[in-house]
Each structure stands twice: as structure tokens, then as C-alpha cells.
Symmetry: C2
Subunit: 316 residues, 2 copies
Amino acid sequence: MSILVVGSVAFDSIETPHGKVDHILGGAATHFALAASYFTDVRVIAVVGEDFTPEHEAVFDRRGIDTEGIERAPGLTFHWTGAYSGNLNEAQTLGTDLNVFAEFAPKIPESYKDSEYLFLANIDPVLQARVRAQMPDVKLVCGDTMNYWIKDHRENLLAVLRTLDVLLINDTEARMLSGVDNIVKAAAAVMALGPRSLVVKHGEYGATAFFSDRAFAGTESRPFRAPALPLAEVVDPTGAGDSFAGGFYGYIASQPELTPAVFRTAMFYGGVMGSFAVERFGTQRIEAVTSDEINERFNLFREISHLDPLASGSGV
Amino acid sequence: MSILVVGSVAFDSIETPHGKVDHILGGAATHFALAASYFTDVRVIAVVGEDFTPEHEAVFDRRGIDTEGIERAPGLTFHWTGAYSGNLNEAQTLGTDLNVFAEFAPKIPESYKDSEYLFLANIDPVLQARVRAQMPDVKLVCGDTMNYWIKDHRENLLAVLRTLDVLLINDTEARMLSGVDNIVKAAAAVMALGPRSLVVKHGEYGATAFFSDRAFAGTESRPFRAPALPLAEVVDPTGAGDSFAGGFYGYIASQPELTPAVFRTAMFYGGVMGSFAVERFGTQRIEAVTSDEINERFNLFREISHLDPLASGSGV
């Protein structure tokens, strides 16, 4: 099944304790699409500037990602500058040059209209809503957001939340969105705003899925906890959350039906793709991972979290 | 098999968003012993004052805990005053009255000498070392400590660490003890100080076990992640870590041999007992939990973290 993702294709300038890179390919839609491409077909809606070259395009092409919906506009591509220090859990944004993104009006190519899975990556909720409205018949809608939209664009965000099946955010965002400190209560409050289920990402501690009684007809009331891999080296956390989303949603779209078991397995694949993403700067690792490596790491995630040894492997 | 635990039996005055209690029974050895008592025989070494009444003693008696090693001294029992706010992850210590604990010289009754498992709860490492030296032939030694000893009593603590098989600490303590921010590297550095394996507790995110090549003859090199239960109500986090340790070590002592599988299962029982502990103030919940409730919650921990449904339950 095809996933349509709308979000940013950007250039990132990043400094971490492991080094410094300038204007490398990044953006939520890029990280998401690359991670999801190992599981299913992916189509991208975004806008880039004149500095987006055939070499950048080739990164998508090599993974078979459909870029017909990446619009070329006069000017420069969206550029983010950020730095990480200490335990690399939180990015410090040093600069956000919206450039061509400032005037972005998402247009959906005809060939994308039959996409069954929609992912609204972290962008202005007004744009998320516009894409959502043009895809009324999709099978499943999953979305992401961030503190900036929660804080200063709340009404617009709430309109999007009402149309989502699954929301993926982190602990801080869940607390900020709900105004509740306890994460179980925060999850319930967030799901009351629209999403039938909620994935809360805990960074190095993994992620927890919460299900409302509208998810799986209320048969799945327990949360589900997926681990993250304890890593000795985190080179660059940029895109880890988007790669998690790509692995998670890509796996879901590769399955005939979204069952509780598929949702749980998808949480593990999210963690797997997130764990690869941080091993190198930008998209370097996720561009070049193999299916064997993904399967091997999936089994490792299972081994480090399951009481019983693995009976038989699952495959991409 | 019997566990000998040395640590504090204390009175706690605690304020949390759920209420306020004054001089209730607490202390690391108390929480540990109660949690471990559901799995195996427990013997306690501690000191209390004249304000420790038969009603307090009865809490231990009802759980079949051996209190011959709880010394009565003139004066008042150790008293801790603390408060929690916000998300209840960190206690704020408002007062520490050592009282009879200031002059505590642990004495091990003859009847305790055949204990095969030793637990050094969080007390002055000088006292931990003294007890350890008097129990040279135990099968396994597990210990706990805290930021205060790491920071200001480092040399004494290092002497204890050299004699430990398993150390249980939290993320902050592991980072402080090793001087390393990355938790995988911090774990390796801590294990180089003595413990063959290390359990790092992450509060509401569960716990991770790390194994050196001296644990299980190097056959177990992967870490292991155990979940915590997402809880809508945390009434009082005091003693959660000690209850985790009690469940963890109690289960280990109940098994014929410490294998990797036993270690993993013990991590789950640790989480289970920790999750009960926080449901009420002080020891109220752990005093009165049933084996059925423990088994039921163990299965819940398994269900919220395992990809496959549970085949057959494990039992206390």
C-alpha cells in the first residue's frame, strides 16, 4: 500500500559532540520517507528551492520514493540550524530559514490520490489540514507535531487532531498539549481531542502506545511499551523521531490490516529505524541500511525486551 | 534461600500532591524486606529507637520477616522528611534526623550467618563494607547506593563496589558515579569498578540491565530492558526503588541458580513490586498485596511489552 507524506524537505546544519555538518539533506518528510521506503511505497509532498540538486533528488530515487509531489520554487530550500550538547536528548534551534517553505501551498498530484495511508509530518497544522481535506478517503491518517504548534497555533492544531487516527509525539509535547503531568492521564486527554491512539516517544527510553476505546473497537485497553536500543554512540539525533515514524507507519502500511499485533510490531520497527538514524549524521545511515540489517536489529530489539528466546524471526 | 538485608528501618514524613503523612514506617530495608518476603525468607539488620512499637514490628512479623537483627537502641528511630511535586520523579529531602542510626554498628546474629544472599541497601558504605566483610561466603551480593555517597564518600563506596556482584542505581547515579553521560558507556565504567552486572533504574520508564564479561561467563553481552507500568496515579514514590530491589532480588533468591533467564524475570518482578509500592503511602500497599495480584501484574507487565500473547503464566 502507498503512503503519502507531507512535510519538510530541508537542509540542516548541525553540530553535535561528534562533529559539524553544513547544509546536509534533512527535513521531517525526508527522514520519514527514507525509513518507510524499506516497508512500502512512499510518495512525498513538499517544496524545495533552486539549491535542491539532482544529487539530493537521487537520495529519494535510490530508495524508489515518488518525488512527483516535490514542488520546485524560486529561492532557497528550508534551512534549519541546530546543535546538541550533553546527552543529546534535546536539540537547540539556532536558526530557522523558512525560505520557499514560507509560501508553501501543498498540491496533490493526481497520481497520489489513490494513496491509502496519509502521514502529516511536523509542519504548520494549516498545511496539514489542507492536505488532509484533499484526501478524505484514506484508510488511515497518522500525524506528528511539535511544541511550537502546540503553544502558538493551538486552534489550528486542534482542527487537525480531530481528523487523525494516530498521533505521534514525545512526553513533553503530550504534557504540553493536555496540560496534564501524568502521562497516562495526558494520553487520555490527548486522545479525547481526536486521535484514536497515541504513540508517546520517550527518546532513549523507547515509546509507549495508548489506545482509546475507539481504537480496535475498545478491545485493546492496555498500553504497549516498546524499547529503544541502548546505544554507546549517538552521532546525530536529528530525524530520529521521523525515522521512528517512518518505520512505524511503513510497517503498518505493508500489512493487510491494522490489528493490535500489527500496531505492536510497528512500534518495534519504529524503534529499529530510529536506532539506525542516529548512528550517522543526517540521512547517511538510513539511506544505506539493508533489509538484513533491519531484520537483525528487529530481532535484537526483541531479545533485549522479551523474557523468552526468539522462536522465529519476522521479516521486512 | 535466605536473604540478609542491611539498611535503614525508619520513620518517614512525606508530602505528595495526594496528601501528607507523618512518621509512617519506612526505610530502605523495610521496603526491600516487605517486597522480597513474597518470594523468599528475609532477615533484617537495622537499628531502631524507643519509638519503634510492637505495631511497627508486627508489619514485619505478618510477612514472616526475621527481625532478630533489628537492634533496639536508646533514643529515636531514623526520621526522614521529604516532599514530591510535579511529576513525582524526584524527592526533595526536607530533613534527615539520623538519631540512633548515627551510632549504628551492624551486628549479625549467629542465626543469620547461613544466609546465601546479601543485600546492602542504601546506607553509609562504611557500614555496607562492615556487613559484607562479616559474610564472606554468601552466594551473591547485591547493593544500592545514592548520590550523597557517590559525591562525598567516594573512596568508601569504591571499596564496597569491588565486592559486589550486582549494583542497582538510577540513571543520574550511574552518570555521577562514572562521570560519563552516555548510559551504555557509563554502565561499562561502573562495572569496571567491581559489579559484574548493573541494573539502571529509569523510574517511570522501567530499568535496563547491563552485563560485563564476568557475568554469566560473558555469554550474555546484550543489555535487557524491563518496562515500568504506566500508572494514572502515583500516590507516593517513596520506597519504589527499594521495592523494585526486593522483588528483583527476592525472585533471584527463590531460584536454584542465577541464569540470564532468571535475571530477566527478576527485572520484571522488580518492576511489579515497584508498581505496587507507589499506589499508596509508605508500605501500605506492599504490606497487603497478594500472590495472585503479583502474578496478575507480572502477566500484565509481560503483555504490555511482548509482541506475542502470553502462552503460560509464571507464578510466585
